[in-house]
Subunit: 514 residues, 2 copies
């Protein structure tokens, strides 16, 4: 009899564990309900419903927090310590208790007063950010950002950390990931990417993507988005849907109800199509979570970064590959004969991979994207280390852009007030994007070892072996493991920039003839 | 200084009242959140999401119940008794305490065990009902219905009543309404309607509605539904929306986010159009609730029946009037020139008012509709009085149909298993439909006294005086008063079949030349 089976049969008899699972299921249900309210707010809610929706979301999150931090959960977790140690680390039961304990400790370490002040600071920061954007002036945002930074220092202190306050914040998104890990990662990326960006900039004209910037009918684009998402394995039939919203996002209320949104730009093909593949990637992660986790605290991805690894995998490694367009380009040409009838497949492939240093992160290409994240990470750390004052933030931002990307943002809108993230918090909120990019290649190459024919399959429109590999190796674990743990288990090593840099260099040296 | 103002300024100082309002706002938010989950389930939810959605709804309703029946609410209500008596009965404060106490007492009188058994019985009844419908056989539903009847007897006993167990059940839908009231009402209706139905049946051929049964394009029908709902004053711009679902319904998550659904029948004009006016009527009630009630327990209609008075008002009294079609028929003809180009306005008016005894309640016309309800009410009462055994229900149903409508249902599907209501409970669940029909005329005639030119206004497409009157006299009170109380306040008398019967006789004697 395996340890797993023993543990499972023990679980049925452990009343404390059963009760814990029952209580956590309520918390999960409240959170997933809040998720639907958010989805509706972004898609179908009549405008005037906003105020009541804000109240509803606040109540759901308050009640979920109350339920999750209830003393009974604390007592159960204490009583389960001994039992947990008899179980295999990766069993459902041990993982449930472990993850619940980690989250419970975080949630109960934050004094309610701080949670309330954080929430108020978010509201103020959001308002100030909106106004700052309207006026294209960082100074309008500066006071609210100062308040946010102070609160995030308090949050970090309350959560606790060993080495650096950012560790505490980073751990909320990427359990187990350290600031030092991120610094090592960015160090390698800086070394590999900055010279590559320079080399490509000298050959900027080698790739022409002007035909992507022409009118593409909205309805047809939407059909193409649906077709491509379904082709790579996002279940749109009975377990998912796609809608429109201003900012694309993916959300799931269970593995059997996963929805994403896209934004269609009638003058630019990439905006809708690659958002669809990106969000479909997140969607496959959620749809791939095990059925038995449905009401469990494990019914989540490993981290923001691991989630992003799946979206970047399908958006970039698959969606911007020659093999993918071998399959899909003839279909796309049939949909847009006027726009693409005379564009060769190779020219199209090159165009969707055009590299161009730019100011706006969400529009960045595969090569420059991580430099955008690096700028934010380094600035956050400098602020936390009190090496950079907030008054000097725009100047520091622009200087880093010059150094890494060779361009200078002409104003704050195209500089340090472009992202919404600093209205939620400050510190660690961007790391997941780079972790995702790096992990996507690390995971893909492992999949490729086991299925060397993947690219030939893509060229035939066959993606199920790759998806199944991700299902079995990544999605199947839900939130059992942190990102480093999961990568080590699956690829034999923690997050490693090597495969990513090699992939980027190989791909873009080819495209740009370096 | 008025009593109202004194009370209001007192409220700000009464800490117990403030706390009660705060706790009730959480309950309201949880219920309204559940409402959105239900709406989504009926409109956009991917099919496979059903199981998780069921869990989410169960948790939300459990948590709302826990919060509402919390001992703290009981203590606050006790402590507020003396204060409440110093306040004007109709003040917001006294009404909030009064309605909260009434609902709290009901909610706490039901033993948790009974609530759970009722909920399970619903699930079983629903499954049995579905199967019974598939097999067109009441006997399949019979055992589950028996269980439901037993449970509803227990519910009635737990809630308590003075005269008849049905009073307790009726009071849940129609606060303050008694079984004896309903019997009196149906007595008058029976006397007035049964002979009228017979007289009309003899002139059945006087009205031809065959042109309503031809193909009407789905999209155009939907546009017409939207246009008509907006014309009568349902705010679709920023505070509402219309979607499609299998069964039309209206739901609000606040007065500023009210949604209804319609079902379009491509072969029959009435199904979509009058559902839209009907649901728009419910919608105007919700949108007409006072802003200051938004998070309050008063943010509801007075009762199911009063709600129905608003839907029937716009569907029938307005929507099936000559004046309405004077305004709208030319517009409709433009939308459907092939179908209606050669049909005169008068013929159209007569067609949408065709009276025809039929088996299915939801398809019944204005004259026969209440007879459908009467059948159900009388059967429920006979079962509660142990005068009718459940084995004999189909026979009794069919006999009543013969007596009142002159037709005999050919099978159970077109007989006693057509409605879903007995899967939720048994007793009092249909009364609101008839209360609504009767109250709609009573209210309308009062409005007409104050605005004698209403019909001329309808003919011009002007509905705002009627809507404003309903806003001020009905909607403005939210859930402060029960249906009888509200009708007395507004019209000077309780529910009264007289105006309704006079309206029906006048209208249909004219149409059928009686």
């Amino acid at each position: 009899m395996s340890g797993k089976t023993e543990a499972s049969s023990g679980a049925a008899e452990n009343k404390d564990y059963q009760r814990l699972v029952e209580l956590l299921a309520e918390v999960t249900a409240l959170r997933q309900s809040g998720g639907l309210l958010f989805w509706d707010q972004q898609t179908y809610m009549p405008k005037a419903g906003a105020r009541a929706r804000g109240n509803h979301l606040a109540v759901l999150s308050k009640v979920a927090h109350e339920k999750f931090t209830a003393p009974e959960i604390g007592r159960l977790l204490e009583r389960l310590r001994d039992w947990e140690e008899t179980l295999p680390y990766d069993s459902d039961e041990a993982s449930t208790v472990r993850v619940a304990r980690r989250e419970y400790e975080k949630a109960t370490r934050l004094p309610p007063d701080l949670v309330v002040r954080h929430s108020r600071a978010r509201t103020r920061a959001h308002e100030a950010w909106i106004e700052a954007r309207q006026k294209n002036d960082y100074k309008v945002f500066r006071p609210a950002l100062g308040e946010m930074v102070d609160i995030m220092r308090e949050v970090a202190d309350a959560l606790g950390y060993e080495d650096h306050p950012l560790d505490a914040l980073l751990d909320q998104q990427e359990p187990g990931m350290k600031t030092a890990d991120m610094e090592g990662l960015f160090g390698e990326l800086r070394q590999g990417l900055v010279p590559l960006v320079k080399a490509i900039a000298e050959k900027a004209d080698a790739v022409d993507d002007s035909f992507l910037h022409q009118p593409f009918d909205r309805e047809t684009q939407m059909e193409v988005c649906r077709e491509a998402a379904a082709a790579v394995g996002f279940d749109l039939e009975t377990r998912g849907r796609i809608d429109l919203s201003v900012h694309p996002f993916t959300i799931g209320f269970s593995r059997n109800d996963v929805r994403f949104t896209v934004r269609i730009d009638e003058g630019f093909f990439n905006a809708g199509f690659f958002a669809s593949l990106h969000e479909a990637g997140h969607g496959t992660y959620m749809q791939g979570l095990p059925e038995r986790f449905e009401q469990s605290i494990l019914h989540e991805g490993a981290s923001s970064g691991l989630h992003e690894s799946q979206s970047r995998l399908w958006e970039n490694i698959v969606g911007r590959s020659r093999a993918f367009w071998q399959f899909y380009y003839p279909r796309l040409q049939k949909r847009f004969p006027e726009q693409l009838g005379k564009v060769s497949r190779e020219d199209f492939y090159r165009a969707v991979n055009k590299v161009e240093p730019s100011f706006i992160r969400v529009e960045a290409d595969e090569v420059t994207y991580n430099l955008h994240i690096m700028v934010r990470f380094e600035l956050e750390k400098a602020v936390f280390d009190r090496e950079l004052g907030l008054d000097d933030l725009p100047g520091a931002w622009n200087e880093k852009f010059r150094n890494y990307l060779g361009i200078t943002p002409p104003d704050d809108l195209r500089g340090c007030i472009q992202d919404i993230h600093w209205t939620f918090g400050f510190g660690g909120g961007f790391a997941g994007y780079t972790i995702g990019n790096v992990a996507s290649v690390q995971l893909y190459e492992k999949a490729l070892e086991e299925h060397p024919g993947l690219e030939e399959e893509f060229a035939q429109g066959e993606f199920s072996n790759l998806l199944r590999w991700m299902n079995e190796n990544v999605h199947a674990h839900g939130a059992k493991f942190g990102p480093q743990e999961l990568l080590e288990r699956v690829t034999g090593r923690p997050l490693d920039a090597g495969p990513y840099l090699a992939y980027i260099k190989r791909k873009f040296s080819d495209i740009y003839g370096l």
